[in-house]
């Protein structure tokens, strides 16, 4: 009985939590819910590679940016609905992930070296987007307003929120699959010990590359939705370092390599930090608070907020 309650409590609480914003009248609260769900989603996308596979990327915004530019360019240059941008962005994101991953992993880059390479790729994409006429350079791309389901643009933020929650559930389903499948087990084995994994017949480069591609494909979907929500994308929004930091922060604060971690991390980040920010408006306060939160987590709770559940259960 007690076991059933502890097992069912998180999904029920989660269901209530994600349904709650649909009852909100205030656009401010819907907005907050939307941002939180978006953080949780891209955090979970990062977590697929960074958490489950230990592939700590510092440049995951590269995928987010590819998604955002895919939607913007399809709409403005070719007049194609952003619904088609979703599969195309996922494909481009996955392909980019496969290329970056394969090149890095084949060269044996791990840990902080891999993190630096991903950071460099994101910066390279930012510079390219700034320089290229195809992406309209530094001035960015305005997507014309064309509200309606067919154009994937919604007047009611709650509809956008529903789309993001769907993506979040998709990413969490991928995380659940990783927990249960052979691929996931192998990915975690590679994270724990590459030599032992290779000795047991696991193709390390292929496993890591696949995980990075999967993670990149998911993250790029976030960019599509971002573009359709704000109808604007420029190099800094798409490829700026803040988004990369947000993704890894959300996953690490919540609990890297767990199914619930990114949700918990996003809640902590947005509810705590955004609330605090509305009281203290000093510039730079929010990043500082993020830094403090990360330090506290790394120092006191390396498994993230999600690891608290295990501690209570054992106690």
């Amino acid at each position: 009985m007690n076991g059933t309650i502890t097992r069912l409590a998180p999904p029920i609480a989660f269901a209530v939590l994600i349904l709650l914003p649909f009852t909100f009248g205030s656009q401010f609260l819907v907005n907050l819910a939307m941002l939180t769900a978006m953080s949780a989603f891209i955090g979970q996308a990062w977590n697929i590679a960074g958490g489950f596979g230990g592939l700590t990327s510092f440049g995951h915004t590269v995928f987010f940016g590819i998604g955002a530019y895919t939607a913007a360019i399809l709409a403005t240059r070719y007049g194609i609905s952003a619904w088609f941008a979703l599969p195309l962005a996922a494909l481009l994101g996955a392909a980019t992930g496969a290329v970056i991953g394969f090149a890095s992993f084949r060269a044996g880059l791990r840990g902080s070296y891999f993190a630096l390479v991903t950071l460099a790729f994101a910066e390279a994409f930012r510079v390219l987007a700034t320089a290229s006429e195809f992406t309209r350079g530094g001035q960015g791309i305005n997507v014309p307003l064309a509200l309606g389901f067919a154009h994937f643009q919604f007047a009611d933020r709650r509809a956008t929120y529903a789309v993001i929650v769907t993506l979040l559930l998709l990413a969490m389903a991928v995380a659940v699959w990783l927990r249960r499948s052979r691929f996931g087990a192998r990915l975690m084995a590679v994270r724990e010990n590459e030599d032992a994994a290779a000795a047991l017949g696991i193709d390390i480069v292929r496993t890591k590359t696949a995980a990075f591609a999967l993670s990149g494909g998911l993250a790029s979907l976030g960019g599509v939705v971002y573009c359709q929500t704000y109808l604007f994308v420029d190099p800094l929004i798409a490829f700026g370092v803040e988004r990369s930091v947000e993704m890894l922060l959300v996953a690490m604060i919540g609990g890297a390599g767990t199914i619930w971690g990114p949700v918990l991390g996003a809640l902590a980040l947005h509810l705590v930090a955004d609330t605090a920010r509305s009281f203290i408006s000093t510039p730079g306060f929010a990043p500082m608070l993020y830094g403090v939160m990360l330090l506290v987590i790394v120092g006191l709770l390396p498994g993230g907020i999600a690891s608290l559940a295990g501690r209570f259960r054992r106690a």
Binding site: A185, M188, A197, A198, A199, G201, D203
Partner: protein, 244 residues
């Protein structure tokens, strides 16, 4: 089953392994022994594909596997364990063994059943659901073997699975290795301690300073003055003979 021909490896100024040739017949327990630093682990690493040899070749089941990637070699049925045990620390004992079982079975349920069976057979039954990080040295050594065995290898390379064990644990692991061989798995083992090998191996190769210096049955090896000198230093055999 395994034929190693003239393997050599140099690390900078150090000739770690020089011209090592050995053969492991199917169904045997063959041992490679030698003092610390003799090049045993390097030889193993070259056979299993972890280190690329400078010269020489490795043939397994009639195919050339020299410098093939370790995962490909494992898939062909030759699997090694590590002297310094390498558990997947964040996973449970069962999950560790299941990684091995996944090589032959993609279904998580079937792989788990296989992992539990192998784990129980190797005496890890009560620990299967505990984190691998908390195991004793003896249990970690068993886990190394269990994981490798779960891949259903044809040839098992055991790197010092007996080192660091007390006499009763040693007796248990000797029985375990014999049972594994009787189950149809050929074994090549590296050992530092001669006593442990004597109880197990039919054929012993002795490595010293990177080169093979002797080969024979455990009894022949124990009486070979070159082997005694390799372990105890120059002149040791002569001094022992004088004191006897």
């Amino acid at each position: 089953m395994l034929e190693v021909t003239a393997l050599s490896k140099r690390f900078g100024g150090l000739q770690a392994v020089r011209d090592v040739s050995l053969a492991v017949p199917e169904g045997s327990i063959t041992a490679l022994i030698g003092p610390n630093g003799a090049g045993k682990t390097t030889t193993f690493a070259m056979i299993a594909g972890f280190i690329r040899p400078d010269a020489g070749s490795v043939r397994f089941l009639g195919h050339d596997v020299t410098a093939m990637r370790p995962d490909r070699i494992a898939a062909r049925g030759m699997v090694r364990t590590f002297q310094i045990t390498q558990p997947f620390a964040g996973l449970s004992v069962m999950e560790n063994i299941r990684i091995g079982a996944f090589l032959r079975d993609a279904s998580p349920a079937a792989a788990e059943a296989q992992a539990r069976e192998v784990g129980t057979r190797l005496g890890l039954g009560p620990m299967l659901d505990r984190p691998a990080a908390g195991l004793t040295v003896a249990a970690r050594k068993r886990l190394e073997v269990a994981r490798a065995l779960a891949t259903q290898p044809k040839l098992l390379l055991l790197d010092e699975v007996m080192a660091g064990l007390n006499p009763s644990e040693l007796g248990e692991i000797v029985a375990m290795i014999r049972a594994v061989r009787d189950g149809g798995v050929t074994i090549l083992l590296i050992e530092h301690i001669m006593a442990a090998v004597a109880a197990l191996a039919e054929d012993v190769h002795v490595l010293a300073e990177g080169a093979l210096i002797a080969r024979g049955t455990p009894r022949q090896i124990a009486e070979d003055p070159r082997v005694v000198e390799a372990y105890l230093g120059r002149g040791a055999a002569e001094r022992m003979a004088r004191h006897a």
